[in-house]
Amino acid sequence: MLWPLFFLMTAIHAELCQPDAENAFKVRLSIRTALGDKAYVWDTNEEYLFRAMVAFSMRKVPNRGATEISHVLLCNVTQRVSFWFVVTDPSKNHTLPAVEVQSAIRMNRNRINNAFSLNDHTLEFLKIPSTFAPPMEPSVPIWIIIFGVIFCIVIVAVTLLILSGIRQHRRNTKGPSGVDDTEDKCENTIAVENGIPCDPLDTKGGHINEVFLTEEERLTPL
């Protein structure tokens, strides 16, 4: 007697979950693309986990706290790994509105992805757009930093070159007068030694200091 009831229930379930049914969503997984050699096989246990995650997401919606795993129906599982799912209400006669399911999945997308070690590209809910995380942007763009470094180096180099050019210019113009100054200084130092003018020393008697003589000879060519 229970058998007709059972068939009735499965028939109703079958009607509720069909490709392109009302409030049904298609899901596509690309496990091998994401995990390569570590890819797991998609079996009924994984399906159970999926239904649990969807139920978990629905339970977080206010008013839907009573959603059970049995309310989530999967159908048309293919080799691709793609399938359709719907979420029914507790009476199991109607499906929940697509808008609610969509917003629930979007809010918990990260948790669902992590449960399967996939990401937004490899676990696709067709018709549910995912919100991309904003890219990591440093507060100061890198190019400005490098620009600053290069520009500072160039400015310093230009300043050094200009300064050295000015110094060389000054040295060239001061060159001849500078030599005269040192010549005068030489004569002054020789002429006044130890605070005593040398000329009077020469005329007074006594030994002639040969060192003094050789210094004079050194000076005469000038």
Partner: protein, 615 residues
């Protein structure tokens, strides 16, 4: 020697003329000036468009009969007369002074827009120091649910180039605002140029060691990397395979001749300036042949690298095209993942088309042919900033390759800028514009400042359209006219015999038959025919440009628009104004001479009267 004593006064005054530290600096400066961005992005494009290896035939013919003879003339007169382009032409004949002024003007115009290209290169260089590279992903739209639509339509690299770098407007009349990031880079670029040319060849002579040699190092690194990339062989064979029938198209010969002409940077006055700092007895013939050959070999070397990288990119794109199609099939028919290898794709498609054609027809499948991807070529900025940049994205270690590539482009362009600036600064120095007290650093600083202020217009949103105008119109016709007057002036006005005697004095050998025939007949004829061909091509159709317009129906393709009237006027002015110096100066000199004669005649008749009275 009569010629030496006639120009003897030049020898005495030129003892204070700056000199090269050694021959290597001079050769590197000329090579750096000749080898520029055109060797990287113009020659490979021409090779590819005009039948691969077959293009080398008109190219080498043009090199032998036009490039090397003209180049030898420039080096010889610069070295002999020991003046910049202005002084040289005044010395040969005062009526030809306009050629020097014209070269000076063209050098100025070219340095404006050439440095702007360096600004773009610098911007890309600065942005290469991050991982992942900024042109590898699209920015997100406001909802963060997808990418910016313009980027999705055109591709990440094109978006980065047209929107995030240039922020290009959709029309040339829409100037838009100044782009502050480009402005900053322009300040840096002109500062770097100033740093290098601050003391003339004293400073460029030191900088050239790096800027001329670094590109060759990077090219070699890229050669090794490029040849080991998958798909490089396809690129090289497809692009170098000669297609001889293209030689029947006269356009090939015209483009080969113009490519040689502009590649050697003739008629700018830069080479004349460089040669004028040489010792008088220097074998300029050997220099001319060496530098011209090095320039052409560099073009070939660069095209091997470019083609192998383009082959890699085409193979990559072809693979991605196939993968996208395969994914569409797998998703539609729910096959297991990765169940269709690339090689099986055609058979699977055939089978599915036979069994379920309606479902297959609904899919957005694109036809993937490797040749289509190999045929996608570009020249100019498009090659460097879009195609090559995209290729670099797919190489392992993309950040390093991007840094190397843009560093190489920057140093290539910088060494050419030295020649351009010499073409501007040396005539000013020779004219003695600044009083003696003011140092050379001030003059070069002033020149760089003027150039920088004039070039800021290229940082507007329509800047790249204006750059294209300058590139197409400012240099081409004018340089051909100046080169023609160069040959005619030296050979017919200065005199072939005098010129050959000078060369014999400088190099120890008299120019042989090849040189004399080339100078007398072949080069002037070639230049005339290039000039006429250019005029015909320009008059053939109204000049147009390709605009980047996101609102265009066929969006990623650029929209072809005609230039508005006032822009066409500017194009014509750019093409002819610099050349007007030639007749202008000749006329001025003529008038001056006539006035002088008239004054002398008056003086004579006045004296006769006086004598008569006294008598």
């Amino acid at each position: 020697m009569a010629q030496v004593s006639e120009l003897g006064q030049l020898e005495d005054g030129e003892d204070e003329r700056p000199k090269w530290d050694n021959k290597v600096q001079y050769l590197l400066s000329c090579i750096g000036f000749a080898v520029g961005l055109g060797n990287i992005w113009r020659f490979p494009y021409l090779c590819q468009t005009y039948g691969g290896g077959a293009f080398l035939i008109p190219y080498f013919i043009a090199l032998v009969f036009e490039g090397i003879p003209l180049f030898h003339i420039e080096l010889a007169i610069g070295q002999r007369l020991r003046r910049g382009s202005l002084g040289v032409w005044m010395a040969i004949s005062p009526y030809l002074g306009g050629v020097g002024l014209g070269c000076f003007t063209v050098s100025f115009l070219v340095s404006l827009y050439y440095n702007t290209v360096l600004v773009w290169v610098l911007w890309f260089f600065l942005n290469s120091f991050q991982h992942p590279l900024p042109w590898s992903t699209c920015p997100l739209d406001l909802n963060r649910t997808g990418f910016v639509p313009e980027c999705q339509g055109s591709g990440t690299v094109s978006y980065f180039w047209y929107r995030q770098t240039l922020n290009i407007s959709a029309d040339i009349s829409d100037s838009g605002t100044f782009q502050w990031w480009l402005f900053l880079c322009m300040v840096a670029c002109w500062a770097i140029v100033y740093l290098c040319v601050i003391r003339g060849i004293e400073s460029t002579g030191k900088a050239i060691y790096f800027t001329a040699l670094f590109p060759y190092l990077v090219l070699t690194i890229f050669l090794v990397r490029g040849l080991t990339l998958p798909g490089a062989a396809e690129g090289l064979t497809y692009l170098f395979t000669p297609k001889m029938q293209t030689l029947q198209n006269p356009r090939v010969w015209l483009d080969a001749a113009t490519q040689i002409f502009f590649s050697l940077s003739l008629a700018f006055g830069g080479h004349i300036a460089f040669a004028s700092y040489n010792p008088p007895r220097n074998n300029c013939k050997k220099d001319a042949v060496t530098i011209a050959l090095v320039n052409s070999m560099t073009s070939l070397y660069a095209s091997i690298i470019i083609f192998s990288v383009l082959g890699f990119k085409a193979t990559n794109d072809y693979g991605q095209c196939l993968d996208r199609n395969i994914l569409s099939l797998i998703n539609e028919f729910d096959f297991p993942e990765q169940s269709i290898p690339r090689d099986d794709y055609p058979t699977v498609l055939l089978h599915l088309n036979a069994t379920q054609p309606e479902r297959v027809a609904r899919l957005p499948l694109k036809a993937c042919h490797l040749e289509d991807f190999l045929d996608k070529s570009a020249s100019g900025p498009g090659l460097a900033f879009i195609i090559f940049t995209e290729a670099v994205l797919n190489m392992p270690g993309a950040t390093g390759w991007a840094i190397l590539f843009f560093g190489m482009l920057f140093t290539l362009g910088l060494s050419s800028m030295f020649g351009n600036m010499e073409g501007v600064i040396t005539p000013l120095l020779d004219m003695g514009i600044l009083p003696k007290g003011i140092p050379k650093e001030a003059l070069t600083g002033l020149v760089c400042l003027m150039c920088f202020l004039s070039a800021t217009c290229f940082t507007l949103q329509s800047g790249s359209y204006w750059l294209e105008i300058f590139d197409n119109f400012a240099a081409s016709l004018n340089l051909i006219i100046f080169a023609f007057f160069e040959v005619v002036g030296v050979i017919y006005v200065y005199g072939m015999k005098r010129f050959c005697d000078d060369i014999e004095w400088m190099t120890g050998q008299r120019p042989g038959l090849y040189w004399r025939v080339a100078w007398y007949v072949v080069s002037p004829l070639l230049l005339l025919s290039i000039f006429l061909a250019y005029i015909i091509l320009l008059a053939h159709k109204a000049p147009s440009y390709k605009a980047w317009n996101p609102q265009y129906e066929q969006f990623p393709l650029k929209q072809e628009k005609l230039y508005p009237g006032w822009v066409q006027v500017i194009c014509v002015l750019l093409s002819f104004l610099p050349s007007l110096w030639v007749p202008g100066v000749a006329l001025a000199q003529l008038l001056c001479r006539q006035r002088q004669k008239w004054k002398d005649a008056q003086l004579e008749s006045g004296l006769k009267l006086q004598n008569g009275r006294h008598c």
